[in-house]
């Protein structure tokens, strides 16, 4: 297996921020977004998961086609790691705020 590591790292980063964005937007603008997501699969969370897989695959395909890989450079991996930590903290703090608001 020979994957494009830069594309894989940035696709992971992209899908993390997609999940963060759709999670927060759905809570803030529940009326139009939640019924739409629910109407697609029967449950908004299932739709989010399927969308995440599609976003990941699309980003990987596009980035692998249009960028040059450098398997020796770890920076894109650290960006994915940092995004996971920041994204997790963002979701947690958002729900803390949402609970007390």
């Amino acid at each position: 297996m020979n994957l494009h590591i830069k594309a894989l790292s940035y696709a992971t980063t992209g899908v993390i921020w997609f999940v963060v964005a759709i999670t927060i937007l759905m809570e803030l603008y529940e009326k139009p977004i939640k019924p739409f997501l629910t109407s697609l699969t029967g449950h908004h969370w299932v739709t989010k998961g399927i969308f995440a897989v599609i976003v990941f695959a699309a980003l990987y395909g596009a980035l692998a086609s249009f960028t040059t890989d450098n398997k020796e450079e770890p920076t894109p991996v650290y960006i994915a790691i940092g995004s996971a930590v920041l994204g997790g903290v963002t979701i947690f703090l958002f729900y803390v705020w949402h609970f007390f608001a």
Binding site: I5, V15, W45, K71, E72, I81, G87, Y95
Partner: protein, 166 residues
């Protein structure tokens, strides 16, 4: 059925975490044999985390929303759903993709990991993050169970909690 699904979800998640801990250890001092093992174990770890996602997702959609959520929200720890479950169900979505990134790196970079220390440290950090996230999910799961149990205890002492009547 719900108990079986929760057990399977926890097993797959914890096994996935332990398998990535194994990968992390193999990468500390890599040799061709250790890298070969790391590749196989990381694939298995990614498979287990995807299995935890599917099984946990089925439980969440089919049982949690109807049976558990209203009880927790009517109990003394409503934040166990509003903060903890909501955080868990969304942050969990990161894990299969992080696992796929780690597995893809080990499979694609291979022997370079033994020579490129910077790349190896990045991959070790990624595996450590997967382990921490997966165990954090377990801790959040325990908190959700505590929220449910405390609500049931309230039901025993007072037969009406929120919309639920004993």
């Amino acid at each position: 059925m719900p108990q079986l699904l929760i057990g399977a979800h926890a097993f797959f998640g914890e096994a996935g975490a332990l398998l990535f801990l194994w990968v992390l250890v193999e990468l500390l001092n890599p040799s061709p044999e250790r890298l070969r093992r790391a590749r196989i174990v990381s694939m298995l770890g990614a498979f287990f985390l995807v299995a935890a996602w599917i099984v946990g997702g089925y439980y969440y959609v089919e049982f949690y929303g109807a049976l558990v959520k209203p009880v927790i929200k009517g109990g003394p720890m409503p934040w166990a759903h509003s903060i903890v479950t909501e955080t868990k169900e969304h942050v969990f979505l990161f894990l299969p993709f992080l696992a796929f990134l780690a597995t893809g790196m080990i499979s694609s970079v291979g022997q370079q990991l033994a020579e490129n220390r910077r790349l190896r440290i990045a991959l070790i950090t990624l595996c450590g993050l997967i382990v921490l996230f997966a165990f954090a999910m377990a801790a959040l799961g325990v908190t959700i169970s505590s929220g449910f149990r405390s609500a049931l205890e309230s039901l025993v002492s007072s037969p009406v909690v929120g919309s639920v009547t004993l």
